[in-house]
């Protein structure tokens, strides 16, 4: 909301420069987005002038050449295009050097060959009106040479405020004046609605029926006759302009002016166009159609409230009036409506019909019904003063004022306890009174009565404490730390997750953060068919389902880098995936009676492509990413977590069928390891890509968190190498399993260190490590184990010791 300070000072003058006022407001709860000057700058070049002489321009029918005096013998020749300019007029002039509202700087110019030393001003040129039909003719009593800014609001300071949704009372000049008075201590003038020229009682010839009082707590109306539609006076137009409203005509301008001043939106009907002289407030029918002022046909439902006359709907209540009974240049009878609408319903309606107006944005925050009559009082005065109108006796008032005000006990002790600082009781009372709260001393505290315009926002003691605290000054709060005895720490799982990420970082992987949502197309491309969670209102189809694997976002990130010339990419991601199936956590009470929540899992995935290390003069062609490179990284990762694991052949459709594995941990399937299927990689414009993705809870459940000391230091191990010929279909894991099974307790480690294939056979060499915790072993002692191993490999795997 825009707050023109020259208007505000009608009600409060804090005697502060705009920037200081803005700072004070910021620190008391009213956020100031910006402070700016509405209108022109370089004010010394804007002056009052008198037209001494006007002659016709020699070469242009529509231009006049004027001699303008500025006092003390100072004159200038100005070419003017306005039809109404004439000798003897007192006018506003911009002289060379003046900066206009759009930022352009005025210079001497030649117009059709005649020099012009400035510009005689129309109101739109200084942003105090929209009229460009002629120049402004000022009061002849003004002395030429007077600074124009002393006469007209051509450069006014405006604060642009971001009012929080709980304070619709601040969406008005008077409401902000009250707030500024409270924030600065400057005295506040009485509200402009104190004097009301209207009278109560029925209005002859006008009938109002409210069929939905739940959605329309109050409906007031007054009738004016002999209304003369015309332009508003300059002072009113200037205020609207500085507030960002376009002047239209006096009646419409009054409704806008009153809304800006009091916060109450008004609507003016041409009463002669209200069919039957009757307005009915009712819910729309199901699928009822109506064309609004903006020429859009809208389909409605019973949650939408309409104002109708005998010919049907004329407005959507609180949002937009209808064309049919709009005020016209010929209007003479005006029915002024000031109503109150249910905020939440109005907000829903405004969303449903996709129409948000200045009025609706105010009503949706919930206004006090009392405001309606305040608006009527101010508008009545202006209708009479500015439109020459005659008020028809009576005021229609359906619904009346809101519920009686509430009184809340504010305990002094509670204030101190919540803030951690004492605010003297007298000061609390004074601060609240400045905000129009009624305060009575209650011994250990205050009994505080809430004004109508704060009824929705201040309902509890704690709300009063907030009011006291913000005006008292949060800068006076002590800075203390809680004296609690709680100890902080990460959980084991959180520590392990950090360790996992750190291990991968150490292994040369950078961490990616991908998108949780993706296109349904991704799963098709990956040939993954897990049940995915779909968004009901996605931003786009590309972001419409929740991922079930990290692979899509990792591939997107790898492609992003490769496409930018980074050929060697190693990325990992620790992120959540989502499956559309019930989760396995213990449900909370509320979860038990709600739609089941999906199953979320933290996954850890990694992808690598390109060279494993940079090429160099010593190694022009380093090895590149493949299945075993990925497995090596996985080995590093799971080694860092101390997780025992193994792999079996896998068959994931997105993987190379010959280079695909599943990772087994503690007998559970923990994820995939492999090289991507070239066809899948090609979908992301990538070549050879390898990687893995693990379900982190499964992995972390098997991490050895607290290793126990094992004596591997006191006695040396004995190492022996054996090589076997095995049938080609046998795997290294099978060999290691058989060797371990036959090796006895002293065999502590078996490691495949050489592989050699020939027709139908593979030679696998293993290094055996025997160790005892209590003695140094000898070759003789382990010879029987060695024999058993050879026998077992021969018997179980049809292997043969290689000579």
């Amino acid at each position: 909301m825009k707050l023109p300070l020259f208007w505000m000072t009608d009600y409060v003058d804090p005697h502060l420069p705009p920037a200081k006022l803005a700072e004070r407001l910021d620190l008391t709860g009213t956020e100031v987005d910006r402070v700016f000057t509405h209108g022109v700058t370089a004010l010394e070049h804007f002056v009052v002038g008198r037209v001494l002489e006007r002659t016709q321009h020699p070469d242009a029918d529509r231009l006049s050449v004027c001699t303008v005096a500025f006092g003390d013998g100072d004159t200038a020749q100005i070419v003017c295009g306005a039809p109404n300019v004439d000798a003897g007029q007192t006018v506003g002039v911009a002289r060379p050097g003046a900066v206009m509202p759009d930022g352009t700087k005025l210079k001497r110019a030649k117009l059709r060959g005649v020099e012009s030393q400035g510009m005689i001003l129309a109101e739109d040129e200084v942003s105090i009106g929209l009229d460009h039909d002629g120049i402004m003719v000022l009061d002849d009593a003004l002395e030429p040479g007077t600074p124009l800014a002393d006469v007209l609001p051509i450069a006014t300071d405006v604060l642009e405020l971001a009012i929080t949704s709980n304070r619709p009372d601040c969406l008005s000049i008077y409401g902000m004046a009250r707030e500024i008075s409270a924030a600065t201590g400057a005295p506040l003038a009485p509200p402009p609605w104190l004097e009301d020229l209207g009278t109560p009682g029925d209005v002859a010839g006008v009938r109002i029926e409210v069929e939905a009082p739940d959605l329309c707590p109050r409906f007031t109306a007054r009738l004016f006759e002999d209304v003369k539609i015309g332009p508003s006076p300059a002072w009113l137009k200037a205020r609207l302009m500085a507030s960002g409203q376009r002047p239209i005509n006096n009646v419409v301008d009054i409704t806008n002016y009153v809304m800006l001043l009091t916060g109450q939106p008004l609507h003016a009907f041409d009463f002669d166009l209200v069919a039957g002289g009757r307005l009915v407030v009712r819910r729309a029918g199901q699928d009822e159609r109506m064309t609004t002022l903006d020429d859009v046909e809208r389909t409605l439902d019973p949650d939408v409230l309409l104002i109708c006359d005998d010919d049907g709907p004329t407005s959507i209540a609180g949002i937009m009036g209808g064309q049919r009974s709009e005020v016209q240049p010929t209007t003479t009878r005006v029915l002024m409506e000031a109503a109150n609408w249910d905020g939440p319903n109005l907000q829903r309606t405004s969303q449903r019909v996709n129409l948000r107006t200045e009025a609706s944005s105010r009503f949706e925050k919930g206004l006090a019904p009392e405001l309606s009559m305040w608006g009527q009082a101010v508008s009545t005065k202006l209708m009479i003063e500015l439109c020459g109108a005659r008020l028809v006796p009576g005021t229609i008032d359906v619904g009346g004022e809101g519920p009686p005000p509430k009184t809340i006990r504010l305990r002094d002790e509670k204030v101190t306890r919540l803030l951690g600082a004492e605010v003297p009781l007298g000061e609390q009372a004074e601060l609240l009174e400045r905000l129009d709260f009624d305060v009575v001393d209650a011994g250990d505290g205050l009994d505080v009565t809430v004004p109508a315009f704060r009824r929705n926002d201040v309902t509890r003691e704690v709300d009063l404490i907030e009011e006291v605290a913000r005006l008292w000054g949060l800068e006076k709060l002590p800075t203390t730390l809680p004296a609690h005895g709680a100890s902080g720490r990460l959980t084991v799982e959180q520590k392990l997750r950090r360790r996992a990420a750190d291990a991968l970082v150490g292994a040369g992987f950078s961490e990616a953060t991908g998108w949780s949502f993706q296109s349904p197309e991704i799963d098709r491309r990956l040939r993954v068919f897990e049940p995915a969670v779909k968004l009901r209102n996605p931003l786009s189809e590309d972001l419409s389902v929740m991922r079930t694997t990290l692979l899509g976002s990792l591939l997107a990130s790898v492609r992003h880098n490769v496409a930018r010339g980074m050929d060697d990419v190693r990325l990992f991601e620790e992120g959540t995936v989502y499956f559309d199936r019930p989760h396995s956590r213990e449900p909370t009470a509320v979860e038990r009676r709600s739609t089941p929540l999906p199953d979320e899992h933290m996954h850890l995935g990694a992808l690598l492509t390109g060279r494993l290390r940079p090429a160099s003069w010593g190694e022009p062609e380093p090895p590149t990413a493949d299945f075993f490179a990925a497995k090596g990284v996985l080995t590093t990762l799971l080694g860092a977590l101390r997780v025992p694991w193994s792999v079996v052949r896998g068959a994931d459709a997105f993987l190379h069928p010959g280079r695909a594995a599943r990772v087994l941990i503690g007998g559970q399937d923990a994820g995939w390891l492999g090289e991507l299927h070239p066809a899948v990689a090609a979908e992301w414009d990538l070549g050879r890509v390898a990687g893995f993705e693990l379900d982190l809870p499964t992995v972390l459940a098997h991490a050895v968190v607290t290793p126990y000391y094992e004596d591997v230091l006191s006695f040396p191990a004995i190492r022996q190498d054996l090589a076997f010929w095995l049938p080609a279909e046998r795997t290294a894991a099978e060999l290691v399993d058989v060797v371990r099974g036959a090796g006895g307790k002293l065999l502590r480690d078996v490691r495949v260190f050489d592989v050699y294939a020939r027709e139908g056979q593979t030679s696998l060499a293993v290094r055996l490590e025997f160790r005892a915790g209590d003695r140094t072993l000898t070759d003789e002692e382990i010879a029987p184990q060695r024999t058993k191993i050879v026998e077992a490999v021969t018997a179980k795997l049809e292997g043969a010791l290689r000579g």
Partner: protein, 351 residues
Amino acid sequence: MSTADRIAALRAEGEAAIAAAAATAELEEIRVRFLGRKAELPNLLRDVGKLPPSERGPVGKGANQARQALQAAVDSRLAELEALELEDKLAADIVDVTLPGTPVTPAGHLHILTATRREIEDVFVGLGYRVVEGPEIDLAYYNFDALNHDVHHPARAESDTFYVADDVVLRTQTSPMQVRTMEQQSPPLYIIVPGRVYRPDNDATHSPQFHQVEGLAVDEDLTLGDLQGTLLAFAQAIFGDDRKVRLRPHFFPFTEPSVELDVSCFNCKQGFLRDGSRCPLCKGTAWIEILGAGMVDPNLYGFVAESGYDPERHQGFAWGMGIERIAFLKHGVPDLRMFFENDLRLLEQFG
């Protein structure tokens, strides 16, 4: 010449030769000449038995001493020569030290958001907080109802919240874990909740997914002053010990009083850079808004009364901050969307 004289002469001759040897090979020849199997001195020793008994002692002793002295001289000269020869060899083995080193796989980097998140977590762990995490797809009950958003609150609109079902949303804040944790745990409670949240906006300063760290402390006598002190400790840990903070009143549905926290700008002096221009970070205000906070609204305790929360007895405070915003302020990444592109050239600058 007596034998004794001969021994003395051999020793002198040997020592001179050893001292003069210029290479290990030459020294070996000298050793063989004086101490080898066929050399005179060992032969003298071998033949001692043939001497008259009165000579045996002195000759044997003298010959032995001479042999040992020569052997010691050889050893010491050998060490000298080997060292010299090694130096000569090394002096010929010159590489171009300006060639690049042999690359190892360079270490990777944590994502800037993870690095920032860890930094924040560590500050609060140090202040006695536990770190809890919760579901990203959650009930509207936890995301809105139990956080004092009435059924008409605008934040619930489909334009502001992603829906999965009528009562299931992508959480728009990490705050649902406030109530979830209070359901599980009685006071006192000191937790932070880092995690991913979602809102349907997409431009340079709004991303449909982003990350927050929520904080919640509930105890018997926590005050707004304690909140200020806690956040000051945080701001100083993250942005430097010279930072100051200030609270500005604000409005949030689930705190009362509500505040925003500003930290004094670390990029300028009083809003102006050294060249006199206005600081772009704080826009000349000397303060930067970093988070929203407040005292827990007593209504919230009503949702968890069964776990022992009593609005008359318990007081607490809560805050929520955007990790992206902290990372942006601290490291200057200009566009929120860059956080999720995972461009290595950006990732490698942080973490």
